[in-house]
Structure formats: structure tokens, C-alpha cells
């Protein structure tokens, strides 16, 4: 048989059918599926094929808005009149012992420079920095009593993402795509988008690492500059037809080699090249907003320079969800306001508030919010006291230090109770006094929304069954519908 005179695709099909290696059917099913001809891709060779959850899920997808650097809950979500009353007073002695970091024992309380308003039927408070988010109050489940273990950025980011401060464990998006696969055939199942105020994300890629899980589950970063996916563009001088010529030649030669070696890995590589080719078309299509209505673009603030970076990522996230991407994580950094908090937090809120609200509203009006879990928050919160490490700042330019004992995060859609104010902190927001929730509990709850039992989503590595929640975590049923 002479393969080369035939139409490339037809020849491949015939070749696969005739090859005597017992893999023909698998590769063929894939080929048909790639061409949109029904016949769901057989899961054998595709680690991203959709898998059944442990039980019936509320949410199918997740959008995690990760506010890296730790935003101040006391200036955004929690009005604390006592802080105003005791402004500039030392913290009560009874609280000092909870501070591992001895510096903070010297610190004085700091009133919030912001005003608060109550929104929606729930009367959920938001500061004047988040007027847009406030309008979504009745879709939001606000959790005030989060707690984490460490007050350094990177270890704490790892706890929130990977369940432990130790480097090298799989992140939440990896666990979820490992557990559920992805509905998208043309895009990666776990995508990371970043928008920053100039600095990178502390800790970088370890936050979306696949750890000991196969690297197929690693978060794929879509980049705001250059190619959105690394090496997506053809080299200069090669247009799409030339790329197809290359791929057909590579595929045919690989099939020829498959016949002489009998190694089915080659069939898998051929499929990877085909997916890569499809991504070259589907990723630019994803970022092409020309078919979005003017009102949608305006809602996300795409035309406005301040809101454009985060707004673009929010709109991309919605478009990915529509196309079946399982887990989208948006990073915005940095909220690490040790000094000049009032000015810096204002700047960040101006960037993210309108797009965040637009995302919730847009998902809702398209009927996607019920099946999409949106989570908003950072790796810890900030102290009710001034930062003391820096030389005494001018009045009005104070900041707050890291605080792991109590902080707020919120979630919406995907099975979370809208308009719920869950948990409570003491008068100055120092410690939780009601419904304390460790980040492991949050993780267990997120997985639960997706139909996954966090104690059963495990991976055997070095003789142990590992899981996202390490050895802890309880589903918090009170926040669920």
C-alpha cells in the first residue's frame, strides 16, 4: 500500500483500521471525535476525558478569583465600629498570646479609612470601594471566619491552592481536572490567567502545579502579553496551510513508524499534535471579543484602561466556561498593603470591582451561575492593627500586616447559598467567634459542590494516598443550598 498519494486524513484512517496492533479502534475513535463525528473519545488514551463525579454535583466548573497578597477584609467586607472607637490603642493583652510573631504585639489598632453600606435583602455590608460587587450581594455567600496556618505569602498561597505549605503538591485545579477531566476538546481543562500591578505572582508556577499528578493536569497559563498560550503562533513565514502541511507530513511519518514499532504511544502523540493544531484556532477564537455585544464589553469595563486587564480575564473566564473548561483561576496581585493601604487598596478595587460584578451578572443572565462556582479571596487577611515593621509612616499612609487567624472570602453560584453571612469575628476582627472555617474546610466544600468527596479524591504517591485536604477538612453544609 502506498500511503502517500491518498488524502492525508483518509490515509490515516485506513492505516489505523488496517494496522494489526489492536489500537486502531482507539485511535480511530479519537480521530472521528476530533472531526466532530460523534463517537465520544475513548478514555483510554485521553487523561482529560470527562469522568463521573462521586455523586450528583451542583457545580460543573469553577472560576477562582485569587487575590494574591491578601486583601484587607476590614476595609472591604467587615465594618468594625470598635476599631474606630479604639483607634490607636494597643491590642488587649488577652489577644497577644495568639500572635506567634512578637512584632505584632506592639502594634496599635487601626480604624478603617473606608465607609460601609449594606446591600440587598441580606443587608450584606461592603465598603465604598466595592459598590459593584455590593449589587450582587444576594448571590454572594460571604464567609467571615476563614483561618489558615501560616502568615507568609507563598506558604499560605500553597495551603490555599495545594492544601499544604510544602512545595511540590498538586493544586486545586489539578485535583479537579484529575477527578473530573474536562468537557473541552479544544482547550486545556485547567487555565490560569494573571493580571498584576507589575510584579509577578509570588511563588509563580508552584501555585498551579500538578505536583506528583501527571503533568497533563498542570494549570496552563494564558498570558496577557505575547502568545496567550506559549508557542501558540506559527513561526514567521508559516501560515496555517503551511502548518497543516507540516502536521500532515509529521502525522503520516509517525504512523509509518507506528507500524514498524507497534508502540501505541505514537498514536497518542499524533493525537496531541492534532489537539495542538486545534488549539491554534480555538485559543485565538476564545480571545476574539468581536461577537460580544457592546453592552457586555461595557459591563466588563473592557474599554476602560483601569478595568481592562482584569475585565478581559473575567470575560475570557466566562467564554472558557461556555466552552467547557473545567477550572479557571484568575490571579490579581498584589494586595500586600503594608503601607499606604488606603491608596493602594483603592487602586486594586478600582481595577477589579466592576469586572467581578459583571462576571457574576453575566453568568447569571446566561444561566451559567447555577453550575459555575465563583470563589473570591486571598491567602490570608490583614491585621486590625497597623503594620509596625516599617519606620513610622505619615498619618494616612499606614498599612496592615498579615493576619491568618481570621479573614473573609466569598463564593457565589454552583450550589452556594446567596445572601448568606456566614461566621463571625470578634469586635475588632482579630479572631473568629462563630463558625470558624479552616481553608481545608473551604477546599472540602468546593470539591463537594463539584460532586467530589475530598476524602475519596486521592492519588497514591510514595506509598501514601494523598489528597487536596491533606489529613483534614470538613464539608461546611451550612453554606450550601
Amino acid at each position: 500500500m502506498n500511503l502517500w498519494d491518498l488524502n492525508a486524513t483518509e490515509s490515516r484512517r485506513r492505516f489505523l483500521r488496517n494496522s494489526g496492533f489492536g489500537i486502531g479502534s482507539v485511535a480511530l475513535a479519537q480521530l472521528f471525535a476530533e472531526e466532530g463525528r460523534g463517537a465520544p473519545a475513548t478514555p483510554v488514551a485521553d487523561p482529560m476525558a470527562p469522568k463521573k463525579p462521586h455523586f450528583s454535583p451542583k457545580a460543573k466548573n469553577v472560576i477562582f478569583l485569587f487575590m494574591a497578597g491578601a486583601p484587607s477584609q476590614l476595609d472591604l467586607f467587615e465594618p468594625k465600629p470598635a476599631l474606630t472607637k479604639y483607634h490607636n490603642q494597643p491590642i488587649p493583652d488577652s489577644m497577644k498570646s495568639a500572635l506567634v510573631d512578637t512584632f505584632k504585639q506592639n502594634a496599635r489598632l487601626m480604624a478603617s479609612p473606608r465607609e460601609f453600606k449594606h446591600y440587598g435583602q441580606s443587608g450584606m455590608p461592603f465598603s465604598d470601594l466595592l459598590p459593584h460587587t455590593g449589587t450582587c450581594a444576594d448571590d454572594i455567600c460571604m464567609m467571615y471566619s476563614l483561618r489558615t496556618d501560616i502568615t507568609n505569602h507563598h506558604p499560605a498561597q500553597l495551603i490555599l491552592n495545594c492544601g499544604t505549605s510544602m512545595f511540590g503538591r498538586p493544586s486545586m485545579g489539578s485535583w479537579v481536572t484529575y477527578g473530573l477531566g474536562s468537557e473541552s476538546r479544544n482547550l486545556p481543562g485547567f487555565v490560569v490567567l494573571t493580571s498584576t500591578s507589575g510584579l509577578g505572582i509570588e511563588g509563580g508556577a508552584s501555585n498551579w502545579a500538578s505536583g506528583f499528578l501527571p503533568s497533563n493536569y498542570r494549570g496552563v497559563t494564558f498570558r496577557s502579553a505575547g502568545d496567550p498560550v506559549l508557542y501558540l503562533s506559527n513561526p514567521p513565514g508559516l501560515n496555517v496551510e503551511a502548518q497543516r502541511l507540516r502536521l500532515d507530513a509529521v502525522s503520516d511519518l509517525n504512523q509509518h513508524h507506528l507500524a514498524s514499532t507497534g508502540d501505541t504511544e505514537i498514536a497518542a502523540r499524533i493525537a496531541s499534535y492534532e489537539l495542538a493544531f486545534r488549539m491554534q484556532a480555538s485559543v485565538p477564537e476564545l480571545g476574539d471579543f468581536s461577537k460580544e455585544s457592546a453592552s457586555t464589553l461595557e459591563m466588563y469595563g473592557i474599554q476602560n484602561e483601569v478595568t481592562r486587564p482584569f475585565g478581559t480575564n473575567c470575560l475570557l473566564a466566562r467564554r472558557m466556561i461556555e466552552r467547557g473548561v473545567r477550572f479557571v483561576q484568575l490571579y490579581h496581585s498584589s494586595w500586600d498593603d503594608h503601607a499606604d493601604l488606603n491608596k493602594k487598596i483603592t487602586k486594586n478595587c478600582n481595577m477589579i470591582d466592576q469586572p467581578t460584578a459583571a462576571l457574576l451578572r453575566d453568568l447569571k443572565q446566561r444561566g451559567l451561575l447555577d453550575t459555575t462556582l465563583v470563589v473570591w479571596g486571598g491567602e490570608f487577611g490583614r491585621t486590625p492593627m497597623y503594620e509596625v515593621r516599617l519606620a513610622s509612616p505619615e498619618p494616612g499612609k499606614e498599612g496592615r500586616d498579615h493576619h491568618a487567624l481570621a479573614f473573609a472570602m466569598w463564593a457565589a453560584g454552583g450550589g452556594m447559598k446567596g445572601g448568606l453571612l456566614f461566621g463571625k469575628t470578634d469586635d475588632i476582627g482579630f479572631q473568629a467567634v462563630e463558625n470558624q472555617m479552616h481553608v481545608h474546610d473551604l477546599q472540602a466544600t468546593i470539591l463537594h459542590c463539584l460532586g467530589l468527596d475530598h476524602t475519596r479524591l486521592t492519588y497514591r504517591h510514595q506509598g501514601r494516598d494523598f489528597r487536596l485536604t491533606d489529613v483534614a477538612g470538613n464539608v461546611v453544609h451550612e453554606v450550601l443550598t
Partner: protein, 866 residues
């Protein structure tokens, strides 16, 4: 290896392997059942969690012979000779009311059949150490803890196939299965396989021609020797070791500061491998080189192995917490690398499966707990002379800058030190001074990769006992950070200006290469058990000691790190040699004899060829831990030399190729994929060693690293081998990560081999690979005259090390013609594809050659070792 296969084999390889081999059908095995091979794995994976070292539900314990035979509260459960009367069989076969195990899937019919046959054949259970008295730690019956015995090779029928003893073990097993080995690979495959495996670079056309035509009977062995003698051998095998050493060029964590001298240790590894330093010495120098009598600089440089742990210099990080993290990591890494054990599991609690208690973990930890970080001068050849010549001038300028400042500021320095030390004993009193102490632990040597706690060590050393260098460096630190003690005086003396001048002088000075090493702290720390793994919760204090499972060697005094390192590579340790030869095997066959090369414990995989593993281990030790010789032995075996062609008739019987009835096809490691494309295109730089390089990569990758600029290398440094690429922990080089280079955050003994669309995009479109395609086109056109088919033949052989067949030539010609035709209507694309000119070649043709070259670089065969 595909992912599903990894999942499968990692989970149940032990059981599955045994069953497939012992009993293809679910009928009672006719062979003699072997306790260690067939029965212990079942007990371990399905019974130990309730009837093992940690728990003995209903009094039954199955990991010790006497206890197992005695039975539990309801009497004996095993009746040798009569499976029908054995309660164990009733329970596992589910004939009665109760079924064991109570959770998880039932034992398979094969497993039950094996247990039945074992009992019927007399339940023989080889004697191991007698269990100790109640309460004392127990020794283990697990295979990996038994001494290495040199087994006699079994007898085989097909003697002529055998080239060395390795083959006897492999063949015996194949013959018992009725399987023939595969034929030998052809010469082209042989030289490509050997070149990629031994030096990590494909062979050139001349080397191929010479080898293919070499009719001498020892042509193969001569090739092996030539490759082992190449300096590229050390570069290839260093990369495996650097995975274990979690090598990187930055600190890790948030600020991820630079370690500009980490490469000095990397070069030590390359050099040690090239001079074939015996593995026992290789081990001792890396773990305790600083403690050797009259240690040389190179022996100290070797201790850089353990300087590759992460450092946290973020404000608010407690340096003691992260020092403890480092010691824990050093202990765990030692466990993986030399014991093949997950000892780190015992950090927070007793190991659930292996005989390591939490106390024993901290006894191992105690060996490392007193080793402190320090950078030393470790000049490379030629450096010292220059340095010494420049020194007097430097000293003179330095004196001019400093004048008598040290004297003038002596009272301030003394007061500053006093107040800082007071803050240590009385924290929380004045945060300014708390901060001075914190800073000293965070910023000392930051960005230089130096010992983070050295400053704290110096301040705690009485001034009179400090060395001149310590005094000098500490005074400079005081100038930079000590202003708090007397701001007016610092202003008056213009210290800011002085510091700037010092910086300028330092930046312009001729410096000596530094090396990260260790020194033993003269004030020994007490080590404790950390309750629940938290260093703030101190349990009982512990002394350095071995876990009881390894016995108690006669050490006359308090054992040091050096004593421990020597024990690790002594014959008293049953694991080091087994673990090491298994890793070599893994690199040469794609999978180890123990698949889980990082875990030889009871939850790791069982060896597929236990006798062979022991034979290799004893050969390694008896041969003086000669690594090159061990590699030579393996690659000259008939087993290694087989074809890798998949055999359809074995796909069901031995899907993972554990019997080795053929070689394996293995996708190349990330670095070798890069190196190969640079080599075949003629771009590769041959420079060995030196500081790490920054080849081009998209800004969107490098910007991920916190405030660390990526200054692109120029000239030949753009084309260095992959192992020389600067490894920034928070933003590793994208191509390496795409192809499964491990995150350099902890030890890695076995890389994954995935297959993703991002890899395809990387090979197709990355400018680095496309530049290689352009350069390969240039090479084909300038080195090969003749028609299109001749040139295709040449390029194909450059990339795959074999001549193409006629179908392949035809398909590539078809591509070439189509690409050329389409370029005729697209003249603008031509210079983009081929920017240079070759005399006598039409530019359109040349551009089509770039396309064709890139097709060759994208072949599965190009990134695979057959």
C-alpha cells in the same frame, strides 16, 4: 509510558506482576509458591494495615512468622499443609459470614489460589531475625531490609544468547514463561541508543558510518568505552543526580533570590562522574565532605548537595522554622536517595507502613541538625593567580574607603550587638530591635546564596573569638544595617556614601568563585522529637542513631555525620547499593527493577527480578562501587541490546514489559530533547561547566519570577546544553517544564513522561526549535550535494541516526514539493524561513528545506530512544 499505565503500575504492580507471571489463568499455580515473592506482597498490601506492625486487630499479626503462625484471639489461622482447614482461607475466599479484608475489593481468585497453594505446600516462610522482646522495636521481614546475598545465576537452556550474567537472570525468567527474547537491535539503533543513553546526544553521520562498518568483534564494546570516556558522559548523568539533589539556582519561596554560585556544586557532580569517583566516596563527600580529615576544597564543595534546599527570606518568616524545614528536607532526601525509603513520612507520626518510628526519624535528623551553611572560596583553575595579583590594590582601596571607621564606630557596634541580642532573650519588648534580629536572619548573604544564619552565628560568637574574615564581614553588615543605634553619628560619618563606595569596589573587584558548603557548628544543638511535626512542640530529646531495623553498629563514640555517611555505603546497609543500581537500570531500560525507584518500602513496588537486583548490588559493592563499570556491564548485556519493537503476542501477557523480552521505547528527557535539536542542527556549544546560562524564552515566562530579570545570554551561551540553563525556582525554563523536568523543590528519583499538546506547540513553534530547523536546513544544504532525495536522506539520518526507507523518502519529497510550490506564490515568507543564502540554491528551495527540517525535528522518533 502513558499515563494510565503509570497509574496502573504504580498502584498494583507488585500484586499484578506476581499474578501475571505465576498464574496466567485462575487455576492453582503449579509452580512452587515463594513466600517472599508471592505471599508477602498480598499480606503487605491488603492485611498489614490492621494486622501489621502498627495494629494487631483481634491479636493477629501477619508480618512476623511466629506471630502469624500462632494466630489471633480465635486461634491459629494458618494450618500448614491444609488450606481447607485454615481460617485464613475461609475468611479471604468469602465462604463464611465474615470476609477479609473488610474494606476495599475482595482478594482476586488468583490471590486466593496463591494463598491456598502456599498453605498446601507447607506454608514455608523463611526464617528471618527473631522478633525482639515485647515493646522493643522489631526488625522487618520485608525483602529490602534483608542483607544483600550474591545469588548464583540460575541455569538456562538458551546459553548462546547470554553475553553476561545479567542475561542469565532475565533469560531464566523468560524461559519459565516460555518466551523467547527479542532479536538484537540493528547497528543504527545500537549507536543511537548508546549515544543517547550514555552521553545524551545523538551520534553524527561519521560516527554512525564508522560503527556500522566496523567489523571487529568488539566494535560494540569499543563504542561503549569511547562514549564512557567522553566528557559528555558526565553532563548526561549529572542531570539524573541533580534531580535527586533538587538542584536550582535560586532560593525558592516568595522572594526567590539568586544563588549565583550554585553551579559550582553542579560542576563538581559532572567532574566526579567523569573521573568515575566510586559511589561510596561520591556519597561520603556529598554528605560529610567537610568532616573528612584534611578535607580538600573539592571535598567541601561536594557538600553543596545539601545546600540545594529552599531558603525563605520573606519578611516575617522565622529563620529557625525554615532552618528546621531544611534539616527535615535533608533527612528525607537522604532517605529517598540512599535508603529508597519515605522516611519523611515519619516526621509527624510513626511511619504507617515501614519500620521507622517518629523518634527514629528525629534520630536521623540529629545527624544533620548541627551542619550549618557557609560559602567558601573555591577558585576554578586560573582564578587564584589573578585574584592574588589584584588583591593588594583592592585592600589598599578598601582601607582608603574605610579609614579608621571600624575604630570610630566600635562603641556603636558593641551597643548595637548588645541591644540586638537582648531582643532575642526578651522578644516583644521593642519591635525595632526584634526587627534587627529578624533582619540579620533574613538578609545576610541574600542574593549571594550564602549561609543565611551565618550572621546570627557571628553575633553570638564573642568578638575576641571571631576570625578576621568574620570581623570584616560583620562590620560591613553593621555599616549597612546598624544605623538604628545612632542615626546622627551615621549621618555625620556619611555611612551611606561609604557603603556605596564599598559596593562599587566590590562589584569591580576580581573575585574568587564561591561554593555553598557546610561547617559543623561548634555549639552542638540538641535535637528533639517535634510533636506532630511542629518544631515549636518539643518532645523528648534524641541523639543521632540508626533506626532499629538496621541493627546497632559498634560505634565507639557519639556518631557524626561522617560516621553515618560511611555506614550508608557500608555492607551493613542493605539498601544503598540496591537503590543505586536500580536507578542506573531505570535510566537504561525506562523503568527500574523496582518500578518505584524512590520507595523500596512495603508500599513500593516489588522487584520484578529480585535475584538480579541482588546480584547487581553485590557486583557493584564488590567491584568497588565503580559506576562506569556497572553501566558498561548493563549496556553490554544481550538484554539491553535487544530490539525495542513491540511484540503483539506479549501485549496482553506483559503490557509494561517487566519481563524484558525486548528493550523499551523511551521518550527523551527534556534536556536531551533540547540538546539533540541543537546538536543535529550544528548549534550546540561544547563548553563544559561554568555559571548557568539564560537562553532566550518568552518574557511572559520570565516575568513570573518575583522581581528577577532574565538577562538573555549572548553568543554560544545561547546554545549550551539543557543542564546549564539557569533554574529559577518560581519560573523554571518553560521548555524543560513542558517536557517533565521536575520542580526542583525536592528530591526526584523518577521523572514522569507525559504527552501533551503544549509539547507539540513547543516543538513546532518555539523560536529556539525553529532556529534549529533553519540551522539544520543550512547544514543539509552546505554539507550534502546532490538531488532532493540525497539531501532528504542526509537530514533524516542526522535526526534519526538511520537511513530512511523509500516510503519515508517519498513522503518527505511530497512535503518538500508542496511546501516549495506554496512558497512560490508567497515570496514574503521566503526570507523569514531562510534568512541566509547558500550559493547555487534557489532561495525558495532553501526556505522549503527549513520546513522539511522542522518536520524531521517533530518526528516522534526524534524525541524517542528506540
Amino acid at each position: 509510558m502513558n499515563q494510565s499505565r503509570i497509574l496502573l503500575t504504580a498502584g498494583i504492580a507488585g500484586v499484578l506482576g506476581t499474578i501475571l507471571v505465576a498464574s496466567p489463568q485462575a487455576s492453582p499455580p503449579k509452580i512452587k509458591v515463594d513466600y517472599q515473592r508471592d505471599i508477602a506482597p498480598i499480606f503487605q498490601t491488603r492485611c498489614y494495615s490492621c494486622h501489621g506492625p502498627a495494629q494487631q486487630t483481634n491479636g493477629l499479626r501477619l508480618d512476623i512468622k511466629a506471630a502469624a503462625m500462632a494466630g489471633g484471639v480465635s486461634g491459629p489461622s494458618i494450618k500448614p499443609g491444609s488450606s481447607a482447614d485454615s481460617k485464613l482461607i475461609q475468611l479471604v475466599s468469602g465462604t463464611g459470614k465474615t470476609v477479609m479484608p473488610p474494606v476495599g475489593p475482595r482478594l482476586s481468585e488468583d490471590q486466593v489460589a496463591l494463598l491456598q497453594a502456599w498453605i498446601d505446600q507447607g506454608a514455608s516462610w523463611p526464617e528471618t531475625e527473631t522478633p525482639s522482646q515485647a515493646g522493643a522495636p522489631l526488625k522487618s521481614a520485608h525483602w529490602a531490609f534483608q542483607p544483600v546475598h550474591r545469588p548464583d545465576p540460575p541455569s538456562v537452556r538458551k546459553r548462546p544468547w547470554v553475553r553476561n550474567p545479567i542475561d542469565i537472570f532475565i533469560l531464566a525468567r523468560l524461559e519459565s514463561e516460555g518466551i523467547d527474547p527479542s532479536p538484537e537491535a540493528d547497528r543504527y539503533t545500537q549507536i543511537r541508543r548508546l549515544s543517547l543513553d550514555l552521553i545524551g546526544i545523538p551520534p553524527g553521520p561519521r560516527e554512525i558510518a564508522e560503527f556500522v562498518q566496523d567489523n571487529r568483534p568488539n566494535a560494540y564494546e569499543r563504542l561503549v568505552d569511547r562514549l564512557l570516556a567522553s566528557s559528555q558522559y558526565g553532563e548526561k548523568w549529572a542531570r539524573h543526580w541533580l534531580d535527586l539533589a533538587r538542584y536550582a539556582d535560586s532560593d525558592g519561596y516568595e522572594t526567590d533570590q539568586l544563588r549565583p554560585y550554585a553551579w559550582r556544586y553542579r560542576d563538581w557532580v559532572i567532574n566526579a562522574l567523569n573521573r568515575n569517583l566510586p559511589y561510596d566516596q561520591f556519597t561520603i563527600e556529598q554528605l560529610a565532605g567537610d568532616l573528612l580529615p584534611d578535607a580538600t576544597v573539592e571535598q567541601k564543595v561536594a557538600t553543596g548537595f545539601n545546600r540545594n534546599t529552599l531558603s525563605n527570606r520573606e519578611g516575617g518568616a522565622d529563620p529557625e522554622e525554615y532552618r528546621v524545614e531544611q534539616i527535615v528536607d535533608r533527612t528525607s532526601t537522604m532517605g529517598t536517595v540512599w535508603l529508597g525509603m519515605t522516611v519523611g513520612c515519619a516526621r509527624c507520626h510513626n511511619h504507617k507502613y515501614d519500620p521507622i518510628s517518629q523518634k527514629e526519624f528525629y534520630q536521623l535528623y540529629a545527624f544533620f541538625n548541627n551542619a550549618d551553611e557557609i560559602n567558601i572560596s573555591a577558585p576554578t583553575p586560573g582564578e587564584l593567580g589573578q585574584y592574588l595579583r589584584a588583591r593588594p590594590e583592592y585592600e589598599k582601596k578598601r582601607r582608603e574607603i574605610l579609614g579608621d571607621l571600624e575604630k570610630q564606630l566600635a562603641p556603636q557596634q558593641a551597643a548595637w550587638e548588645k541591644k540586638t541580642l537582648e531582643a532575642v532573650s526578651n522578644p516583644g519588648k521593642d519591635y525595632h530591635w526584634d526587627r534587627q534580629w529578624e533582619l540579620l536572619g533574613l538578609v545576610w548573604e541574600g542574593g549571594k546564596g550564602g549561609g543565611q544564619l551565618e550572621g546570627r552565628f557571628i553575633i553570638e560568637t564573642e568578638p575576641a573569638k571571631r576570625t578576621e574574615t568574620q570581623k570584616e564581614r560583620f562590620f560591613e553588615y553593621f555599616l549597612r544595617q546598624g544605623e538604628l543605634i545612632d542615626p546622627p553619628r551615621f549621618k555625620e560619618l556619611n555611612i551611606k556614601d561609604v557603603v556605596k563606595k564599598l559596593d562599587d569596589l566590590e562589584n569591580a573587584a576580581t573575585r574568587l568563585t564561591q561554593a555553598p558548603t557546610f561547617f559543623e557548628n561548634p555549639h552542638p544543638r540538641t535535637s528533639y522529637v517535634h510533636l506532630r511535626g511542629d518544631f515549636r512542640s518539643k518532645g523528648i530529646d534524641v541523639e543521632p542513631a540508626l533506626p532499629a531495623v538496621f541493627g546497632s553498629p559498634q560505634w565507639d563514640k557519639k556518631p557524626s555525620r561522617l560516621t553515618f555517611a560511611r555506614w550508608l555505603v557500608s555492607k551493613q546497609n542493605p539498601l544503598a547499593a540496591r537503590v543505586a543500581v536500580n536507578r542506573l537500570w531505570q535510566e537504561l531500560f525506562g523503568a527500574g527493577i523496582v518500578l518505584t525507584s524512590e520507595d523500596f518500602g512495603t508500599h513500593g513496588s516489588r522487584p520484578t527480578h529480585p535475584e538480579l537486583l541482588d546480584w547487581l548490588a553485590s557486583e557493584y559493592m564488590d567491584g568497588g562501587w565503580d559506576t562506569k563499570q556497572m553501566i558498561r556491564l548493563i549496556v553490554t548485556s544481550a538484554t539491553y541490546r535487544q530490539s525495542s519493537r513491540v511484540r503483539k503476542e506479549l501485549e496482553v501477557r506483559d503490557p509494561a514489559n517487566t519481563l524484558l523480552a525486548r528493550q523499551s521505547r523511551v521518550r527523551l528527557a527534556a534536556e536531551i530533547i533540547r540538546d539533540s535539536s541543537l546538536a543535529v542542527s550544528g548549534l550546540l556549544s561544547n563548553t563544559v561547566g561554568g555559571p548557568s546560562v539564560h537562553p532566550p524564552q518568552p518574557e511572559s515566562v520570565t516575568k513570573q519570577a518575583f522581581e528577577t530579570p532574565w538577562v538573555e545570554s549572548t553568543g554560544p551561551d545561547r546554545y549550551r546544553r539543557g543542564l546549564y540553563i539557569w533554574l529559577q525556582r518560581t519560573a523554571p525554563y518553560a521548555q524543560l517544564i513542558n517536557f517533565d523536568a521536575p520542580d526542583p523543590v525536592r528530591t526526584c528519583s523518577r521523572r514522569e513522561r507525559s504527552d501533551t499538546p503544549l509539547q507539540a506547540l513547543n516543538m513546532l513553534n518555539d523560536p529556539v526549535f525553529f532556529e534549529a530547523a533553519q540551522s539544520l536546513a543550512m547544514r543539509i544544504l552546505s554539507e550534502k550535494n546532490g538531488g532532493t532525495a540525497d539531501r532528504i536522506r542526509y537530514g533524516f539520518e542526522l535526526c534519526t541516526s538511520r537511513p530512511p526507507d523509500s516510503d519515508e523518502i517519498q513522503r518527505l519529497t511530497l512535503y518538500f514539493n508542496r511546501q516549495r510550490d506554496s512558497l512560490k506564490s508567497e515570496p514574503a515568507a521566503v526570507p523569514a524561513l531562510f534568512p541566509n543564502r547558500v550559493d547555487g540554491t534557489d532561495p525558495v528551495d532553501a526556505a522549503a528545506w527549513t520546513g522539511l527540517s522542522s518536520v524531521l525535528l517533530n518526528l516522534d522518533e526524534f524525541i524517542t530512544r528506540e
